[in-house]
Amino acid sequence: MLKKFKIITVMTFALIAASFSNSANAGVEGDTITLGSALSLTGKYATNGLHTQRGYDFAVDRINSTGGVMVGGKSYKLTVKYYDDESTPARGAQLAERLIQQDGVEFMLGPYSSGMTKAIAPVSEKFGVPMIEAEGASRSLFTQGYKYLFAVLSTTDLYLPGAVHFAADQKKSIGKPASDARVAMAFEGDPFSMDIRAGLVELISDYGMKLVIDDQLPADLSDMSTTLTKVKALKPDILIVSGHSKGAATAARQIDEMKINVPIIAMTHCEAAKVHEKFPNASTGFLCPTQWVPGIDKKDAMFGSAADWNKDFKAAHPSYSSVPYQSAQASAAVYVWKEAFEAANTFDQKAVRDAIAGVEMQTFYGDVKFGPDGNNIAKPMFLRQIGADGSYNLVSSFSDLAYPRNVKY
């Protein structure tokens, strides 16, 4: 009796499993290629998650309306299956597994943020699903030996060294050694910010500069006045802050309120946090790293020049006063998928993976060429300084920099 029951149970499970695997073949169906993505549509990364989704969707629409993806002489349409990862890594990993195992997705677009990518990459790697991501810049993503992870953006080690070089150049320009510069840093404890910090600490010690403040900020950051009090007392030559949009907003507000007068202030996510719109005075002179600027001289056949993409995207989403680079790189990732599918000329995951690794192209977003670790090694980072009128001005050397920050409290 018991044995019979066992057999029935096993058969039932086998049936359920079979029905799942039958339904699970949505990777390429008919003339549609489904890309899967777990994105932060709610939770703390929701703003940037939305920027990313809009970038993906914009590129998908453009590619579909201009002939789609040609594989084996047949035109395929792209579509993206999204899940909301609620900005929590554990949920992201679950959803990646669900996309691959239950929904049968064979190709993936990345989530938003390094932390989420870190959670999802092991899953896609385990199932051999190639993933092109556009929003996870952490250097540590590309030291794990992942074979199926590719990123169109520059890694975190390239974000802020420029600002430290400027501090060194400033000392040299007044005839002092670079090692005279005193640096203050405040970074959130997440993988992205910690990676930026690691890169900078190395550079600072190479220069022999003194790191006078090195504070870690909590994740739910609503008050960093203690750090800024120290800044006031120690008067460093440069202040560097990173903590996503919320860090930038909190920092700008309290820099304003506490009248912080450091000659060089550099921080990530200025644009996303709209620091100039909220604190026009204090944010004047902030240095902001950016993956992409609409002014660069790059173009492609799909989107035209960088300025064309910027114009068309703004027309599609008039609510943006300036378009976040997160959207631009998301569009670029989808474009790389098209190139890779066409180069592979098959939907075999291994062959497509190799095709991505071999991609070498110019896009409106910049050149794309993946290094052996999967990160894009062909594109530089840019630093921009916020002007008094709210303009973002490209700064490529110390002579371009408005020094010191021109603020009157």
């Binding site: 709610t42 203690t226 006031k232 507000r253």
Partner: protein, 301 residues
């Protein structure tokens, strides 16, 4: 860490003034919501995990009202009124059903309420960090080493005013007396003709209004985000645990103590540990109480 101590006490002792002032401002805001929690906890034995989210909701209401360019006192009064009604509604819908249930039911229900409020605010206001910028001037002192924004001074004044009003209300008014009577012995209060259900509803709504007032001040002096509620919940729990229930002077002094402790921890050990500071106080208080109570414990229920 040694550098930080040197900075505080040798190189630039003047920044102690800034740290102490910041601690006081923090404490004033905490005192408001901690007293509300102590009331709800003491009167109806509900541990309200959504306390911080009521604060953030008050902050968002202030943000909306500020965008209509109303002055701060008017904003404060309107938010207090709205939050009072909201608290009454929450009581009628949820809390009434769990008042005499065991502790875990109240924890679960208020935790659920907290999640619901967070996500609702996230949907409606978006996850960006927001702030109410009153465009008030900032006072410089000691050669620009200490800055005191007017917004913080006004907030401190308003917090003091509200606290004073609460004290008078609890001592003098009939409702205040009824609340205290119910807290002491709900059954006896019922026997003596106090409508305890109404007292509960009023207490919860009152707490909600206090949180709303705190939220207005938070949005004016710091920043708000739909998910920041939890830090306020943790702090208020730490304060109430340290001070004991229904002990207003205790709650206020504990609030200022924790505010100062938090700022000094941030200064000396690092900003990352600022949020951990109240939790460590909570632990220390619990351990000390545990040891103190040991002699009195006779039967395990």
């Amino acid at each position: 860490m040694l550098d930080n101590l040197q900075l505080l006490f040798v190189w630039a002792p003047i920044i102690n003034v800034q740290v102490i002032l910041d601690g006081i401002f923090v404490g004033a805001v905490f005192a408001l919501c901690a007293y509300g929690l102590a009331l709800v906890w003491g009167v109806m034995n509900i541990k309200n995990l959504a306390q911080g989210d009521f604060v953030i909701m008050g902050g968002y209401l202030a943000l909306v009202l500020h965008s209509w360019s109303l002055p701060l006192p008017v904003i404060l009064i309107i938010v207090i009124a709205i939050m009072f009604v909201y608290g009454w509604g929450v009581y009628a819908l949820i809390i009434r059903r769990i008042v005499d249930k065991d502790m875990f039911v109240s924890l679960l229900a208020t935790f659920g309420l907290s999640l619901l409020m967070q996500q609702a605010m996230n949907l409606y206001f978006g996850p960006e960090v927001q702030t109410v910028d009153m465009k008030l001037p900032v006072i410089d002192a000691f050669d620009n080493m200490v800055t005191i924004p007017y917004s913080k001074i006004i907030s401190l004044g308003l917090a003091g005013l509200i606290t004073a009003a609460v004290v008078v209300f609890m001592k003098r008014s009939r409702t205040g007396q009824a609340i205290r009577a119910t807290a002491q012995d709900a059954r006896a209060a019922r026997v003596l003709g106090i409508d305890t259900d109404r007292v509960y509803a009023f207490t919860f709504a009152f707490n909600s209004a206090l949180c709303g007032a705190a939220g207005v001040l938070v949005s004016v002096i710091w920043v708000i985000q739909p998910f920041y509620g939890i830090t306020y919940s943790v702090r208020t729990f730490a304060i109430v645990t340290a001070a004991g229930l229904g002990n207003l002077p205790g709650v206020i002094s504990a609030a200022f103590g924790i505010g100062l402790f938090e700022k000094y921890t941030g200064m000396i050990v690092g900003t990352a540990y600022e949020v951990a500071a109240p939790v460590s106080i909570l632990l220390i208080v619990l351990i000390i109480r545990q040891i103190q109570m040991r002699r009195n414990r006779q039967v395990v229920r």
